[in-house]
Subunit: 362 residues, 2 copies
DNA sequence: GCGGGCCTCACAAACGATTGCAACCAGCAT
DNA sequence: ATGCTGGTTGCAATCGTTTGTGAGGCCCGC
């Protein structure tokens, strides 16, 4: 690690000794201040048991707690209740701008519910993912929001077997044994195709994401269906699968598409990163966009509106997805065996029409 | 550093069924299986106390623990030791692409050390920040990595007073009572000015970030110094302070700069978002970039290389900053009163020359 | 042969909250 | 007046781990 230490200074001495600060006010202190027994104070402070104490006592305890700045000790409570009030969110890569909005949404509702969100980055590796989840499980994590699902994912099946509270977000698995929150991808693709058809495009190609993710499969299937619905022509090489959801992956697929005597007038990309690859290859090949080729992405990453031309793309309600995933997880955590469960929720998407789509050239 | 195995998992099954988890094997079980007292088992399992028991016993206990799939209860341990092995990272907005790389870097070293990282988003509000930190502190969080520091920040002073382990990253405070990890911003600005000078620019304006952050102040000061060092002209309105580190903030500052009879040939922006605002205002005013105006940003956000023209900007070593912050925090957590401390570490930056800078027009 | 000093290990007291149980009190019906 | 009921509150056990203290065995030197 390169770092030039320009100057080193000792921090100033602080006056308050560590021990004094460490000594936090505990339930006993509150109880003493309110003139009641700790047990009573506990009941007064916890909503579910609050009605077991008189309104008067409850108010007195609450006031004492407030005045003393009482904060319950999470470890002690967790020890007694076997609950950690921690949930973990598992993402393949925090650096991918797709995930932060979901994280943010989830964190909002979780922290409001008294839970703490821990974030783990699996670096896109199944092994890391397994290790992290086992670690967090050992820590007593109450539940998981998983954004790393693969289409065939043994780890998630194990979690379902083990009855570990978990919800999937953005990516689903084939087994569908865990609740799933996602965008309505079929509609998203349909909107994209509709828009192109309205612009008089008829030969439309699709650059799919990897087929080991639900998004890759679902969007590709939706594309096929939309093409059929519109009675558009199908042709050899119309759909190509990219190696990864990356610019590079999109670039090689776009390259083969362009060089293989294509005669399509529009391309839909499996996501925005793939679309970036397409744009660079189009530029290399001297094909103007949207003049000679229209392009639609998926996800509406931040800043794709700042490209020239700005990217037309499908927007997912990412914060809502995160929020809903958190809600579902919370009900999952509190679930009794009798609880009815929602298996899947698809949230509405939106086509953001910008500069990469234009009328088909005849 | 974590000495215990928090993460022992059953050898055969990868994930323990929920029912089994509920009645998890505890230290008592291990002790009974090994024919020793729980206290002894505890000592045998924890490296720091391992040498208080005979090698033979230690081996027997370890084997029993392995066989039974013993996983220590984090809550119980935390209750007794007042350590949670959790550290929190506080960011103003996860959605801002500046932070995820730091988070990622920090998480790498923390998880390697047996710590769990929890992320909190303060939504850029001081009140939220305080609430979150107090909450997490109550949870027993061992330390904080704070990326939300303001130039005057009473909360951070209180934390320093309270001797709560914490390190600042990216933004510093005036009091400098906590260790700080950042980029070498002065050099960054100097590199930017050098580059413009080499392109024969002499009248260079600076659009500063808000002066209630260290980055806003530091970069502005560095700009003044660089201008002086090169003997460049100073003039009225050369430096303008933006309302916020946002595109909108940059736009209004750029607008007043442009309309106020400027005659500079280059602009340095306090960060990339401000630079975006400048670009849009330049376009509006019909001033070509880099033809008639050169522009340099700061931070090298992802995708600024995809703009047309791609943005010349200063790159901070964000993952390294996160990693180093985590390291420093860990030593801070384990610090005894006698430990010598590094107060500040500035990491090397880099000027990424792209398309928004060109030779000055005479 | 005995006392003193290891090396091991067992015992039990914490840590701070929750919760089943029992006691208490007031009010009311008998 | 007595007994019962229902609403409040106190008591004490409990969660699973760590750790200070002391007991017992062993070896060694005198």
């Amino acid at each position: 690690m390169l770092h030039n230490r320009l100057w080193c200074v000792r921090p100033k001495q602080s006056l308050v000794p560590y021990a004094d600060v460490m000594q936090r006010v505990k339930l006993t202190d509150v109880a003493r201040a309110a003139g009641v027994h700790p047990g009573t104070a506990s009941r007064a402070l916890n909503p579910p048991t609050r009605d077991q104490v008189s309104r008067e006592t409850s108010r007195r305890v609450a006031r004492a707690a407030e005045r003393l700045g009482y904060v319950p000790n999470a470890a002690a409570r967790g020890l007694r209740t076997a609950r950690s009030y921690i949930v973990a969110m598992v993402v393949p890569d925090v650096t991918n701008p797709l995930f932060p909005p979901m994280v943010r949404g989830a964190e909002q509702v979780l922290s409001k519910a008294g839970y703490t969100l821990v974030l783990t980055d699996t670096d896109n590796e199944a092994a890391t993912e397994r290790r992290q989840i086992e670690l967090l499980r050992a820590r007593g994590t109450d539940g998981f929001i998983v954004a790393t699902a693969r289409w065939k994912d043994p780890l998630l099946d194990e979690m379902a077997d083990a009855r570990i509270p978990a919800v999937l977000v953005n990516r689903n698995t084939s087994s569908a044994r865990l609740p799933y929150i996602g965008g309505d991808e079929r509609t998203g693709i349909a909107l994209a195709v509709d828009h192109l058809v309205r612009l008089r495009h008829r030969r439309i190609s699709y650059l799919a994401g990897p087929q080991d993710t639900s998004t890759g499969r679902e969007r590709a299937a939706a594309f096929h269906q939309a093409i059929r619905n519109h009675g558009l022509p199908t042709y050899r090489g119309q759909v190509r699968v990219c190696r990864a959801y990356t610019e590079a992956g999109g670039a090689v697929a776009a390259h083969t598409l362009i060089t293989s005597g294509h005669d399509c007038t529009a391309i839909i990309a499996g996501n925005d990163l793939i679309a970036f690859g397409v744009l660079s290859e189009l530029a290399k090949a001297g094909i103007s966009c949207p003049g000679h080729m229209s392009l639609i992405g998926f996800n509406d990453l931040p800043m794709v509106d700042k490209l020239t031309p700005p990217l037309t793309t499908v927007r997912l309600p990412l914060p809502d997805m995160g929020r809903l995933a958190a809600h579902v997880l919370l009900t999952e955590i509190d679930a009794t065996a009798a609880t009815e469960r929602v298996a899947q929720s698809l949230l509405g998407v939106e086509l953001v029409i910008r500069g990469t789509t234009g009328p088909a050239v005849p």
